[in-house]
């Protein structure tokens, strides 16, 4: 499926900002199953300094500094992406999850090392015995990796309530785990913590999710939102994407933007400003399918939930 995506972030400041340093993680990654055809970034006011670097996780980060006084900052990322979803290495699912996790630590191939780094604590992910205990109900001894992973995804989906009122970007994962509610970012963090507490490498994926208007109504432009899900590593199958918010294994309805150890590695736009004195933030995402499609691509029969 080919998509035209627009991701527009607006900061409105109460007082003028004299200098703003920013980092944007808004250039979508390109890889088999997520083919980037076009990407552009519009920033207003025009930054004095702009540079881009590929970070340790392979995402393109855009650094820019606005050095003129401004009361509004608009960053709009536009891209065209062809998504078919990540194809697993094989359709088999035979390796017990324990073997998959254990052997990763001993493999020093580039792929394995790249995956291994997602097995550790990270700024927003703590490893704890109670997370491991929760995950073990799905990760039964000798159970094949993908089967266990999908089961955990379904359980988080069932046990946690989607609730955009209880959490903010600063809510810790422990709170989310105890309250059993949150948004897609929280669901992803919970699942990552559960997996890593069992020594399974898991990473945080930021991206977009296609949504559907109610039957007979036109698609509302800009009503979409950015989304987040999880990718876990299997020695046998490679990276397996799962979306605990919607209880699906993403296919062509999900578009990947970036990945990292947790949200803090891929937050779409952050920065430091001088002045401002308070601000309001508006985010508008629009995901327009370029070709018509007939049905929701996923394993779930429920309505997908966005952030």
């Amino acid at each position: 499926m080919l998509y035209k995506i627009s991701h527009r972030t607006t900061y409105l400041y109460k007082y003028p900002v004299s200098v703003g340093d920013h980092v944007a993680c808004l250039r979508p990654r390109s890889f088999p199953g997520n083919h980037l055809l076009h990407s552009e970034l519009h920033i207003s006011p025009t930054p004095r300094v702009f540079s881009e670097r590929v970070d340790y996780f392979g995402n393109t980060l855009s650094f820019f500094t606005v050095q003129e006084s401004h009361e509004e900052l608009v960053v709009e990322a536009k891209s065209q992406i062809e998504s078919t979803g990540r194809k697993p290495r094989s359709q088999r699912d035979s390796m017990p999850w324990e073997d998959s996790a254990r052997s990763l630590a001993e493999d020093r191939s580039t792929d394995a090392l790249e995956a291994y780094q997602y097995q550790f604590e990270s700024p927003r992910i703590r490893l704890r015995a109670d997370f491991a205990d929760y995950a073990r109900a799905s990760f039964l001894p000798e159970r094949p990796m993908r089967e266990a992973l999908l089961d955990l995804t379904a359980r988080i989906h069932a046990d946690f309530r989607f609730d955009s009122k209880v959490t903010t970007v600063s809510t810790t994962m422990e709170e989310v785990f105890n309250k059993r509610r949150g948004v897609c970012q929280d669901f992803a963090h919970v699942q990552i913590a559960c997996l890593r507490s069992l020594n399974i490498a898991a990473r945080y994926v930021s991206g977009y999710l296609r949504t559907y208007p109610p039957p007979g109504r036109p698609r509302l432009i800009g009503a979409d939102a950015s989304h987040a899900w999880v990718s876990a590593y299997s020695r046998e199958l490679g990276w397996l994407d799962v979306d605990p918010t919607n209880n699906v294994a993403p296919t062509d309805g999900h578009v990947t933007l970036a990945w990292g150890r947790d949200y803090s590695d891929v937050s779409p736009l952050r920065g430091l400003i001088l002045g401002g004195g308070g601000h309001t933030l508006q985010v508008a995402v629009d995901m327009e399918p370029v070709e018509a499609t007939s049905e929701f691509a996923g394993h779930s029969i429920e309505e997908p939930v966005k952030q």
């Binding site: 340790y56 630590a105 090392l113 780094q117 490893l127 803090s264 952050r270 001088l274």
Partner: protein
């Protein structure tokens, strides 16, 4: 032997005794020192030790211990007996330290570069990925090779068999070299005879080499180097300012720097000045809130990007904290063989990283023999001594360790060697650790000959400055006197040096502090003068003098006055005496004299690298000048106040005669003039609010406060009258305590400021012109029977005698002028803050991040 001096409670043989093999006769390299100590004797050593302590106190050498009940600035503790190391032994240590520094530097280059060592299995991946000090944004960022480990500190201990072992490596922002230098200065001064006759290798060349190494990191002509400190609250702030001063670099905090166009700039009073090299004492994670820790207030937003653009060099390079962990120690012998083709010369103390299965099993089986530490910098884990672990906690601890074993490292507990320490009149044996420093000159390594010896407290063998231990100087004894100052990699001394007269721009923060130092010194003087002129009269005066004393007290404009509100109860001498005592002695009261002097000390301390040693000494003495004893009566303070004023005069003498007329001095002087003008304005307003004739004794107090009694008497042989007093204090431009004098100098000083605002200058000139345009002769003081007979000598003769109403109207006008002027003075102060200092105070706000 020195049995008369030496009283050790320790058994010999349990640990290596540095000075002696048998506890009786000294080892050969100690013989001279021991002889000398004995010949000097305990009494003289005691006297010298007292002198050392006083000098430390007066120089304000401090070490901040977090959460110390004794106050943030604890005096540095030093022992006068140096630790001695013979040249031959030192050559071995030196080569071992250089080898280790080379190895660690190569390791950092690989881990922040190709990471071949990880791929080849020579360095465990978990030690990289699990390490919170691994700064991913720095991977692949090109920096000069010799900036990775510009400086390495190695903690060395000697085991009972006499061998040296490495306890820890400090790769992040090693501290202590400045204290080592200060220790050397103090000890060589206290024991000059011993120092002169011992062929001690000098430290100065090492620091010259450091300055050259830092300069060489930049390719720009005459690069600007700054020392980045977390600020005055940091434990080793004294050292930061000491080193900045010694090396000649500006001492800056994160807020003093800014990144523009991918370059780092220092905010100075002249505007932004490019910074080329940063010697950092801020942990790398805190250096850039944009790309590293978003909650850091100590860093510079955009620093990592400026480094990536190659526009600034940081030493040690950001990310170097990665290998500060002891967990790397088990891998060093293998890495030395692989990277250097050599065996490790200096062994590390036995270390087990629990991320390795065999090591973990050994640790769990031998827990009582080791101390377990966090492998990565994390808050909240103290070292766990296996032997002291209660059974109840043991199981939970083992479970935690097994859940994430790579986060733990275990080390054998070392029996540290002991050295003689001078304590309460005798020599005792205390455990010691030697911290020495290797410097990457870019052209080979240099090791400081000696370093900082840290001494354990009486009980236990844990050596830590943070736990309140003290330190010693280390003397490396050269074989012959010619060898004490040889340093091969030094720039030749006859290389021509570019002369520069124009000083570099003064950082805004320094200007800010200089300005307030000027204001607070002047404020202290005014408070002291007012109090001194009141104290003798509170007890002896007539009831009728009370109003005039209260007027004088009013000049203090105290917001924390202990006097009852005027309309409630009649004021009494008792109330006034209590108020004065509070002003003189209450350290809790923000506007008391001791608090004001404490503020002088605080502000002075924060720019100590800009002040001369004499000035810091005065500031220290000032602070202790007004530390009252509980038994002191009001009259006892008279002497203390006079002493305090003498110190303040000495301070202004230094200010006038011993400071370069740069921007720092300008701001300090402006601060002083402003503050004095504010006080005079207040005092004069007490006269222009017409005084009743019986209150005229106030005038005498006022002249005393303004040190102008003599001037007055030499001009007017009459009794005190308001108009002539006004003239002396308001308009006499030759009187350095008149208002005219202050305004004239303010204008002069402000004219010299860079980037000055013409509007402000105009308003100052105008205020001065208005003052000078006033015809005081024409004023008639209310209720005066006749006009003053002997008027102002110059220009007053022709004045027509004004009518009485117009004259008192003119007095009201003067009163109003003074009121307006006081507001103007305050607005100039605010103007200076916003124009020159404010950008040093603004902190950026993080948005949209993961805080």
């Amino acid at each position: 032997m020195i049995g008369d001096l030496y009283q050790s409670s320790l058994r010999y043989g349990a640990s290596y005794e540095e000075w002696s093999e048998d506890g009786a006769s000294p080892r050969p390299h100690w013989a001279h020192t021991i002889d000398w100590l004995r010949s000097v004797g305990a009494d003289e050593l005691g006297r010298r030790w007292t002198r050392a302590e006083r000098r430390i106190r007066e120089n304000g050498i401090t070490y901040n211990i977090y959460g110390d009940p004794l106050g943030a600035n604890r005096p540095w503790r030093i022992d006068i007996v140096p630790m001695l190391i013979p040249a031959a032994e030192w050559r071995f240590i030196e080569s071992g330290v250089i080898q280790r520094a080379t190895l660690l530097s190569r390791l950092l280059q690989d881990l922040y570069g190709p990471q071949d060592l990880v791929r080849e299995g020579r360095f465990p991946a978990a030690l990289l990925y699990g390490n919170t000090a691994f700064l991913r944004p720095l991977v692949g960022v090109k920096v000069p090779e010799h900036s990775y480990l510009h400086m390495l500190a190695v903690d060395l201990a000697r085991s009972p068999d006499g061998k040296w072992w490495v306890l820890a490596d400090r790769t992040q922002a090693p501290s202590g070299s400045g204290y080592a230098l200060e220790n050397r200065t103090i000890v060589s001064d206290l024991l000059p005879e011993l120092f002169r006759t011992s062929n001690v290798m000098r430290l100065a060349p090492f620091f010259r080499a450091q300055r050259d190494a830092l300069t060489s990191l930049s390719k720009r002509e005459n690069p600007r180097v700054v020392l980045l400190t977390p600020g005055p609250h940091n434990e080793t702030y004294f050292e930061h300012s000491y080193l900045a001063k010694y090396l000649g670099f500006a001492l800056v905090e994160g807020a003093d720097l800014t990144v523009r166009d991918r370059c780092v700039f220092l905010k100075t009073v002249d505007g932004l000045e490019r910074v080329d090299v940063i010697l950092r004492r801020v942990d790398d994670n805190f250096c850039d809130p944009l790309e590293l820790r978003g909650d850091s207030l100590l860093g510079v937003s955009g620093l990592v990007d400026a480094i990536a653009a190659g526009n600034v060099q940081v030493a040690n390079a950001l990310g170097s904290g990665l290998i500060e962990t002891a967990a790397i120690m088990p891998f060093l012998p293998g890495l030395a063989r692989h990277l250097l083709g050599e065996e490790l010369k200096l062994p590390s103390v036995a270390t087990w990283w629990c991320g390795q299965e065999s090591a973990r099993e050994w640790v769990l089986a031998n827990l009582e023999r080791v101390v377990v530490k966090p492998a990565f910098p994390t808050l909240g884990m103290e070292p766990v001594f296996g032997s002291q672990l209660p059974d109840a906690e043991r199981k939970a601890f083992i479970a935690r360790l097994q859940a994430q074993p790579h986060r733990y490292v275990a080390q054998e507990q070392v029996a540290l060697s002991t050295a003689p320490v001078w304590e309460s009149g005798v020599l005792n044996s205390r455990s010691v650790v030697l911290r020495t420093y290797a410097l990457n000159t870019g052209n080979g390594w240099a090791v400081i000959p000696g370093g900082l010896v840290r001494v354990a407290e009486a009980s236990g063998s844990v050596v830590s400055m943070q736990r309140g231990g003290h330190s010693k100087d280390a003397w490396v004894l050269a074989d012959d006197p010619g060898r004490v100052d040889t340093f091969s990699m030094l720039r030749s001394r006859d290389e021509p040096v570019l002369l520069r007269r124009i000083p570099r721009g003064v950082p805004s923060r320094v200007a800010d502090n200089a300005f307030w130092l000027g204001r607070y010194v002047e404020r202290s003087e005014n408070i002291a003068r007012i109090l001194r002129s009141m104290v003798p009269h509170v007890r002896s005066a007539q009831e009728a003098d009370l109003p005039s004393l209260l007027r004088l007290h009013g000049c203090l404009r105290s917001r924390h006055s202990k006097l009852p509100k005027r309309n409630r109860r009649p004021l009494t001498f008792v109330a006034l005496e209590n108020e004065l005592l509070s002003m003189l002695s209450d350290p809790e009261r923000p506007d008391s004299l001791p608090s004001t002097l404490a503020e002088v000390a605080r502000i002075g301390g924060s720019i100590r690298e800009r002040l001369s040693a004499d000035m810091m000494l005065l500031i220290g003495q000032l602070r202790s000048a007004m530390q009252p004893e509980a038994t002191m009566q009001l009259l006892d303070y008279q002497g203390a106040l006079t002493a305090c004023l003498a110190l303040l005069s000495a301070f202004s003498g230094l200010e006038r005669e011993n400071i370069n007329r740069g921007a720092g001095w300008l701001f300090m002087s402006i601060g002083r003039r402003l503050e004095r003008a504010i006080y005079i304005t207040r005092q004069l307003r007490e006269i222009t609010t017409p005084l009743a004739a019986e209150d005229w004794s106030f005038l005498e107090r006022l002249l005393e406060v303004a040190d102008s009694s003599m001037t007055y008497r030499s001009r007017y042989y009459t009794t005190l009258q308001p108009m002539p007093v006004l003239d002396v204090l308001l308009a006499d431009e030759t009187n350095p305590r008149s208002l005219d004098f202050q305004l004239e100098h303010l204008v002069e000083l402000y004219e010299k400021l860079p980037r000055r605002e013409e509007v402000e200058l105009e308003s100052m000139r105008e205020a001065l012109a208005t003052l000078r345009g006033m015809d005081l002769q024409a004023l008639i003081y209310p209720k005066m029977a006749a006009p003053a007979t002997s008027g102002v000598a110059e220009g007053g003769g022709a004045a027509k005698r004004p009518t009485r109403t117009r004259a008192s109207h003119a007095l009201t006008g003067l009163h109003r002028y003074l009121g307006t002027l006081e507001n103007l003075l305050l607005s100039w102060s605010n103007h200076l803050s916003s124009r020159y200092f404010s950008h040093a105070r603004t902190q950026p706000v993080t948005i949209g991040s993961d805080l």
